[in-house]
Amino acid sequence: MSRQLWLASQDTKLQDGFFVHTDFLQFILSGLTTGSIYALIALGFCVVSNTMGIVNFIQVDFVTLGGMFMFTSLFTLGLPALPALVLAVAAVALVAMVLERIGLRPARSANHLVLIFLTVGLSIILRGLIKLVWGTNRMALPPLSSDVPVQILGASVLPQALWIFGLTMLAIAVLTWFFHRTSLGLCMRAVAVNPTAAAVVGIASGRIRLTSYAIAGALGGLAGVLVTPITTLNYDVGVLLGLKGFAAAILGGFGSFPGAILGGLGLGLVESVSAGYLSSAYKDVVAFVLLLLVLCVRPKGLLGR
């Protein structure tokens, strides 16, 4: 099936799925789907923020890069869906590590202001590279498995949504295992609690930073791989998604992992319900209005310490 045709069929399917009595359930399900994506991105922001104390603006482009690598491994390398997914996520993690090593480590200042600006600069460079390699045209990715909707409680769900739920759960489980059961994970938690003390007991900060970038890259890449079949793929698709992921992280309490997950899901729900009942033109604004409100009223977020 050509990509245009496939996209068109998506549209009709979505319209067919709208039955009044299942509207609300439909909104909830689609909210949870995008919410999972936000949660993945938010987790990526939190990992880096906890180990380095900065907002990592490159996270935004990890998402785009995930989709791009997926596109390449599917169509250029001709891999089947699952190996392509693994390859794409690993490749983004690798890029993230390289960026940390050559882009952030040599900085002569430990000032957070400077480091944050550096991530902004690296993000611009990465976006430029993506533009050069993959061009600026919109592309479409096929979903991981069939695109025939499944009926759940009268609402139709795309199999891709189920993939998103499943893989997000898996990612969260792996992260939990990593941070609680491996020594590297424990070291990273130690750094998050008290960087100076961690340095004093001999935890090498370089390795921790590298790992945190790898994790952030993998999470962002996974989010990109999963979400681009639903949206389309474009060199700046990650910008909006990434910023919303950040809004989710603040919503839940910046730096807190459960907060990031809760914030992501919550943001997805609010967004989809408000798009359904209020106006879809301003759908993208909801996240940021919510962000501004949270910052003004309860800056520590829902689960913030």
Binding site: I54, V55, G103, P106, A107, R108, S109, N111, H112, L113, V114, I116, F117, L118, V120, G121, L122, S123, I124, I125, L126, R127, G128, L129, K131, L132, V239, L240, L243, F246, A247, I250, F254, A281, Y282, D284, V285, A287, F288, V289, L291, L292, L295, C296, V297, P299
Partner: protein, 331 residues
């Protein structure tokens, strides 16, 4: 004192005023030497960007905070002034002032709660705000003209003298840019400016010296927002046409790059950064393809080797070298 010493003393005492005079003279003579509308258009852009970057530079360099949304205030200034003066037929000057007041209020409402937080939440808040405003500019097309932009904005005028030719606009814009520059130079050389520099250096020490750090940060944020709004209004009235793309989040990062090139907290650097990045595409033919790489590369390289920014970093190095040389000479 010999006459040469007296001259040198005079020059060092009035160095700031003299430098401003020199630059003003340059701006005054520029249209005489080159009245090509294209070149003048570029110089307009430099002047407008200088206004925005002056404020942002002060905020980043003196409050130690990040704003990734100054294109919002720039855009609000442009669209606000355009809508008030065109749709409601209010005098352009009045609409310019009205919008600046509204923007100041908006900055206050955002700045007071967010700047209370430690850390760089303001970066995100301003980025979010930028996105909200950008979306509204595009979606609310019956008022803003939507993606195709807003045209037919009246030019500014003084009585019967209308600023409608490029040369007249050149003088208007540079008068504003240089005026703002003079005000900022006065500010940073005053006690208030030293207090602000203290805030950027060390907040605890600053508050122990009697600086209300919270209030200082909010004040500077509002001031920089007003400057951006002013620049936006001038942009709208002198170009006559605006479209949302000038005010997106990438425009905001461009302003930040100008600040970094100019150096944090340097007033002269602000003008240099604005001019450098505005004129950069003119010097490079292949610029469009590699715009992101060049912009990002500049940002990363400057910050990596001179964390204080290009101009400020170089000045700091010179100052230290100068001090050491004098010390060695006297020892």
């Amino acid at each position: 004192m010999t006459s040469i010493q007296r001259l040198l003393y005079f020059l060092t005492l009035h160095r700031t005023g003299l430098a401003v005079c020199m630059v003003s003279l340059g701006a005054l003579l520029f249209p005489v030497l080159d009245d090509n509308p294209y070149t003048l258009g570029l110089s307009h852009l430099v002047a407008i960007n200088t206004l925005v970057v002056l404020g942002l530079n002060l905020f980043i360099g003196y409050a130690g905070q990040i704003s990734l949304g100054h294109a919002t205030f720039f855009g609000l200034g442009a669209y606000g002034s355009a809508i008030i003066s065109t749709t409601w037929a209010v005098s352009p000057w009045l609409s310019l002032i009205l919008v600046a007041l509204c923007v100041a209020l908006l900055a206050l409402v955002i700045g007071i709660p967010v700047l209370r937080l430690s850390g760089h939440y303001l970066a995100m808040a301003t980025l979010g705000l930028n996105f909200v405003v950008y979306t509204i500019l595009i979606q609310w097309d019956e008022v803003t003209g939507g993606p195709s932009g807003f045209a037919g904005i009246p030019a500014l005028s003084c009585a019967d003298f209308v600023f409608d030719t490029p040369v007249r606009q050149h003088y208007l814009l540079w008068a504003f840019a240089l005026g703002a520059m003079l005000l900022m130079l006065n500010l940073v050389r005053s006690g208030v400016g030293r207090g602000l520099a203290a805030v950027a250096g060390d907040e605890i020490a600053a508050s122990s010296l009697g600086v209300n750090t919270q209030a200082a940060k909010v004040k500077i944020f509002v001031l920089s927002a007003v400057l951006a709004s002013l620049a936006g209004s001038l942009f709208a009235h002198s170009f006559g046409y605006i479209s949302p793309d000038t005010f997106g989040i990438f425009a905001s990062t461009d302003f930040v790059i100008m600040v970094v090139v100019g150096g944090m907290g340097s007033i002269w650097g602000a003008a240099f950064g604005a001019a450098f990045l505005t004129l950069l595409p003119e010097w490079m033919d292949i610029f469009d393809t590699y715009k992101d790489l060049v912009h990002g590369g500049i940002l990363v390289l400057v910050l990596m080797f001179l964390p204080q920014g290009l101009v400020t970093g170089l000045m700091d190095m010179l100052k230290i070298r100068w001090a050491l040389r004098r010390h060695n000479a006297s020892a």
